[in-house]
Symmetry: C2
Subunit: 331 residues, 2 copies
Amino acid sequence: MVTIRDVAKRAGVAVSTVSKVINRYPSVSEDTIARVNEAIEELHFIPNSVAASLSSKQSGRVAVLTDPDGQTLASSEIMMQYIMGAVKAGNEARLDVVPLFFSMFAGMKVEEIEHRLEAQNIRSIIICGLDRDMKALTQLVEREKFKTVVVDMPMESENVSNIGVDHAQAQKDILRKTITENTGPSNSVLYISGRTNSYVTEERIRGAMELSEEIGFELTVMNGAFSEKTAREITLKYGRDKDIIACGSDLMAIGAMKALTDMNVFHPVCGFDGITLMGYAGKNMTTVRQDFYDIGEEALRECIRLMGGESGRSIRVPYSLVQVRYEDVLT
Amino acid sequence: MVTIRDVAKRAGVAVSTVSKVINRYPSVSEDTIARVNEAIEELHFIPNSVAASLSSKQSGRVAVLTDPDGQTLASSEIMMQYIMGAVKAGNEARLDVVPLFFSMFAGMKVEEIEHRLEAQNIRSIIICGLDRDMKALTQLVEREKFKTVVVDMPMESENVSNIGVDHAQAQKDILRKTITENTGPSNSVLYISGRTNSYVTEERIRGAMELSEEIGFELTVMNGAFSEKTAREITLKYGRDKDIIACGSDLMAIGAMKALTDMNVFHPVCGFDGITLMGYAGKNMTTVRQDFYDIGEEALRECIRLMGGESGRSIRVPYSLVQVRYEDVLT
DNA sequence: ACGTTTTCGGAAACCGTTTTCTACATCGTA
DNA sequence: TACGATGTAGAAAACGGTTTCCGAAAACGT
């Protein structure tokens, strides 16, 4: 393994100088920089990220925390996108990204979680898919021991940024589109919502309700708890008499659509997320597509910003309204 | 952050002694062990894995390399399972697991990849989903600089173990089952295979061919390249006259089934993998279920074994024949 | 009781960086 | 000419563990 010392020797400078060059310190002359870089090139030197992480209290590593329902197909896809996005951005910034799963911390107190993270030299974390029921993890965010970026939670402070689409607006948009494009009467909408302890659920419901006030249609909200099964049951029971079924997630939209098909009625259904599975769900359904990969990438960049000492903020990312067809997901 | 020195002071011993206790060295008396452990408990000490990784050339970290077609739904699910399994096992062994994706190494020569891994103090790697086209990564395995565990490739040497199901046998089993359960004539089978540069494809084809010799049926093998689309096209063209369609992957089985449905013919179709998506694909299909989570877990344990100095071997893991129904995947 | 082996614990070097602090030029200015 | 600024480079102390090596004490054999 070629170390910083080898480079120093080769370039005829001190190790500290090499380190300064690597980390772009200002106090090095152009001349020395050139000589050091040359040596780095020649020796194919790549700085050891573990040593760097150990020695500097500044930099450190970033953890990506996920895993709500590790078992559903939808969340597999979404988590994978978050992680891949973050890992990619981390790689570009010469920063270690380590994925962790909520389930690892089951039953731990927040202090223990903090210790565990510290023990891995983690200075910054990204949390995706957290809901309020996970007390310890919520506290983890609140205690602000780490520079943290939360996805889809309304938290913002010195050390915490949040990122995500504008769920209320997106819900409004997709619902308006579905109503507009639907030629029928469309004055009664069944909205099947996600779990109640979740911020995105609240926002999406708010969006639907605001639109209902704006353009005036009958809105029935029922709790589908992000469950495809529950959405299916709700639809079987109450879906027939409605004109449109709007769901707080794609998985629920699929469940609803299956139910309608079974009942042999064909109301428009819209979902939320833009997962690939939608392409397999039979009929063409519209949904809000979030770019999870992009969110992961952006979240990691925000970690870097926070570690750089800047303070937390709120980041809205774009979304799009799409109709997912089987042909689009076929590969 | 509480360090090993704090523990040493508290227990009234030297830091080296604490280290020995942590790492279960034999040369410490029961008495001292107890005292040290007590101190560890009291201080909630968790050893810093980064420091450990840096200082010991023995242990080090493990990378999980994946990402064939990061975009398909099937591989998202499979990769996620591998990674979650490995991360879990890594956690239990106090070992850092870092996920990496093939795409990061695109265009690099094997030496550079090695440097990059070294720079992360990676001593051992798990590679999932590699095919022969990826020259640099194949070389990486062959050069044996790292203790490596390959999933689904027939490599075995001092520093390389392989793990996976017996693909030939599994293909035989599922095909036999499909033929047996099918009441029709069943003397002509269309086998849609995976990509040709892949070991699993070869094995699965071999299994199908051996069975064909054994019990005597007409077998047509066509290359579906693991593509749902291609499988669909092949089925549209040649599927009608066959009695059974067997596919080298679930995704292709889904494509084939869609094609049959479109043609309004209903032959039995069997796949391979056991992905959740199968539950959404309409008809009940049979397939070979592999436990990817388990494989990831097992692979990581094998890394530990290799790092412990033992030599490479071949591990067969169990599989099961299942019929995936929508009800089973509904959550 | 004495030499020999074994057991056990500690001191110190090391892993590969970062960072602080010092030192030395060089420069402009009073 | 002397002075403080400024710019640049290096020595050395961290960071938090692991590991080697050595010595003291205990156990053993005779």
